[in-house]
Symmetry: D2
């Protein structure tokens, strides 16, 4: 007997397995262990007791979802400083269809760590992921003006290398959790340029019933820009605006075909089962039939959208009843 | 046993009556006999053998339709020189709902008639309807520079008064058909300022099944302008434009409440049973729920509208199928 | 020595004449004496002591302005019940350019008058202008259900005919002022269907310096709808909307060429010397270069428009300074 | 005596120096030597004989421009596969104002290089920049399925490390030019996933007279999205659309303040000295007065824009003359 993965965000740590017993849930995340992504995954109630599997990149994590190897994958999608995470945006917009099941927002704060005995003045090279380096530029220029950046695959990897035999640098920039996990000495805390920076993550699963609408939801779509019609982006935005659907994120991404060939990754306020969002989606499909629906899911901030009366479900239903009656009477 | 009026434009001259027999069809028209409106009514195949009843004004004619006294009423709605016919526009936009069943376009051409023996030089006063006077200003200023206008209720009435004992003028301006009917002498033909002027008429009936779509149809609506939202007219127009629905007529009319309080009478290309028109109507209902649907009916000129692929019925159906599948999967 | 007409609304009753003396101001108005139009003209401070000349129609009055025979003409342009006054709209939109110098709003109220001795029950026919008849339909249907309407050229003319030998009717509907002037007996007062109805009039003069902006002004334009571009009306409206310029009147009028060929007569809030209005006018000129500017003048209601900061004169000036500096630096 | 830098794209290799002699032009580029950016810089006629200085990142290169240390800096701004280059977009949108002086488009093609004697089967790790790795995924998965990626700061650096004592990998992915410069063995050519991929570069200088319009130009702006007005992005796009100005690139970037806080980096067709572009810039300034003008410069593809008559310089001039005449007459 086969069972669909749980995609409703409820607090389960095991699913009914094919043999009639239960099996532990499994989630992939952008590894290695100790990144902010793992912190985001731990916000999912089911994840604490689930098996958490680090993946080397977004494409790998999503292929594990597609193949059924894991029940979901947690990936960064947007950073308040660095912007959209291209690898995630591109990986969910192509290949077998997937669905975003929930979002998580994690504050971004960094520490500078080193082996015991190393002081600031000793540091010539600093290992960290380029994004972390970008987000600590000001602190580094003031406190480590001559230090060179050694790029690593993750902030956690940068810290772990310090524990090895011949680290390529004297200090690492990483998340606070990694300092705890490794026992490395913290030379400085809160070294990020923009305190208040956050990263937004999404939990991605296979298509299935949508999470139930909560009144405070988001809908994510990926929409190729039709080439042959001028003003196409305005037409796309108008599908939302004319139904009173606000956008909370819009990101242009190249399709990879040529310069000027885009798709837009958009987060809209509302749930696809709400009439104004469904109507906007139908309008988008007419303009750009290759758009991809990437899910409707609760907002991390649980903030309700204000809906004008003429954009309410009731207004849409009344309008359709009226048209039906007009045509068939 | 009661029967709905025939509204499909087919060639019937009688309907099944309550006593099981048949009764003759009856049509009202803006009288008197001999106006362009009667000419328009005679374009309706069923009208030749039907009973034709002149009405003194649009409101009276429509009340005859509403009460069931007649099966339809032919009324002028728009003149290429004088513009919208306010009395008709206002009378169909209020009161019990009605439907436009078909349209007719009649060329507007005038003759100057008089009793035998009267010459141009004898004419001091000319009787005619103010609209006809307005449409023959240039000819009259050149040929009858000192003649005074005596307003009459219709061009036909103007001519008929010449046959009476003490006509208040020496000549009348009327339609050619009236010259024939009365035997009055034609002093000048084609005296209209704008040759090529036409008047458009509509045949109005009670609500019922819409005339079947022909691929070359019009839909008429009357839409109160919501007061409390700036840009409301643009929002209304956008409901059509965003679905590729062209407008062939737009007329503002006061609601009668105060200056600046309007409704718009609009003819759109297409039939309410076509998806792009139905979707535009639904959008309009949300913005202005007191709008009034006044009918979908074949265009007099039988000109097909060009429909872009993304506004076709097929595109709308595909879009709705896609949204349904996205929500329920 | 020649002098331009006074167009600034100041209280002058005479202008310096060519011979060095002064001459009395002259104003035409849509006659005859005793219409609401004369009441409107009397609202103009200069008009009380000026010579007031009744004109038989709008075209005649405007030709007197154009020829210099009068200093201005007062004409009805809009009625809260009947809508735009086509004759005025068309007459100012064609021919030699003119300018609206001020507006006046007059309440529309009617009385039923007759000769001494005539009672309601005696009335078989009622003389009045068709507009007045249209605006007293309800009262007439209730109180004079069998009375027939005899159209006259004006409500005042209807009353004056009752003083003659063989009036064609027993009673007339006219303005209260005419009852006073004629001494006819008032059978009923306030018989208009919509109490609160008003007519708006405009004082039209020759082009010259615009009346100074007051902060509560209107600008009137007449804009042919370009045929060859779909969505042209939306483009026209957008020129106003995108600069935050509200419209207080919009009226479609046929150009007279063919059905579907329109110009729009529009009143916009603001003065052409204000940057947002000037910029909108420039945008309109690009789209429809045959548009006609018909004047900027104080609003009768003296109501100030709310202007968003980004549409203020300061914002426009700052924007142009910035662009100039960007281009030339 | 001080001199402004040459910013007109003319073929000069030296400028008049402060001591009355001449000095050699200097250009920074995103280093190291051998990247596509140097290839782009070599497309600038003046650059061949100029001093070319590699910079470690976009911010450093632009600071060299700002300080006057160099006359310009060549930086990647957009890649047809990977999208906008965030570091460049952010660095030119903040800090002291700069100007884009010209653009260059360079085809992106990669080779796999190694030391003599190394074969495909020997490769366990591949060094290259993450962007290059991203652009050769398909080839690598097919031909080096087990190879691990070692991130480097540039593709050229990856190749140069192979010449050292203890390279951290057996092969590198780099530009063809680097294979020539280093003499490394080419194991595979044209290994990029998307043949036809290109990167677009911009030459950035200090503000000064704009390059003369050529009829085939681009204008780049960076526009913060006003937070407090819904539909602000549509308003921004409408400033271009309503003047017939097409966009060739639009990129959203976070302002760094919070999620949902964006600026848009936009390339529009046309030159700021053309009326339709200048008018759009003025409109943008009113909506978002902190926008940043980043230059008008010739298009690399020299493709002329089609300009509708109503958006031509002549139409703008005629419109402004008309408005001036209307106001002042």
């Amino acid at each position: 007997m086969s069972h669909a993965p749980r995609t409703d965000g409820s607090t389960h740590t095991a699913v009914l397995a094919d043999d009639g017993g239960t099996r532990q849930l499994k989630y992939a995340f952008l590894g290695p262990v100790g990144t902010f992504t793992e912190t985001a995954l731990l916000q999912v109630p089911e994840a604490a007791a689930a098996q958490r599997i680090p993946a080397s990149n977004a494409a790998v994590a999503l292929d594990m979802v597609r193949s059924g190897e894991v029940d979901g994958a947690m990936l960064p999608i947007e950073n308040s400083i660095e912007g959209g995470v291209s690898a995630t945006l591109d990986a969910i917009a192509t290949g077998m269809e997937l669905r975003i099941l929930r979002e998580a927002v994690v504050p971004v704060t960094f520490v500078l760590v080193a082996q015991e005995g190393v002081e600031l003045g000793d540091i010539r090279k600093v290992g960290t992921h380029p994004h972390a380096w970008a987000q600590t530029r000001t602190w580094a220029q003031e406190n480590l003006p001559r230090a060179e950046h050694v790029p690593t695959n993750s902030t956690a990897a940068a810290a772990h290398e310090l524990l090895g035999d011949h680290p390529g640098y004297q200090a690492a920039i990483c998340a606070p959790i990694v300092a705890e996990q490794t026992g490395l000495k913290v030379l400085a805390r809160g070294i990020e340029d923009n305190s208040g920076a956050v990263t937004r993550f999404v939990l991605v699963g296979r298509p299935g019933p949508l999470p139930a609408p909560t009144g405070a939801d988001k809908t994510t779509v990926s929409i190729p820009l039709p080439e042959d019609r001028p003003g196409a982006l305005m037409q796309i935005l108008d599908q939302f605006a004319s139904r009173g659907v606000n956008l909370s994120r819009i990101e242009s991404r190249p399709t990879g075909q040529s310069l000027g060939n885009y798709f837009f990754s958009i987060d809209a306020e509302g749930h696809a089962s709400e009439a104004r969002v469904a109507d906007a989606l139908a309008g988008l499909h007419r303009i750009s039939s290759n758009l991809r629906f990437l899910g409707s899911y609760p907002r991390a901030d649980a903030q309700q959208s204000a809906i004008e009366p003429h954009n309410s479900d009731a207004a849409f239903q009344a309008a359709h009843r009226w048209v039906d009656q007009v045509i068939t009477k």
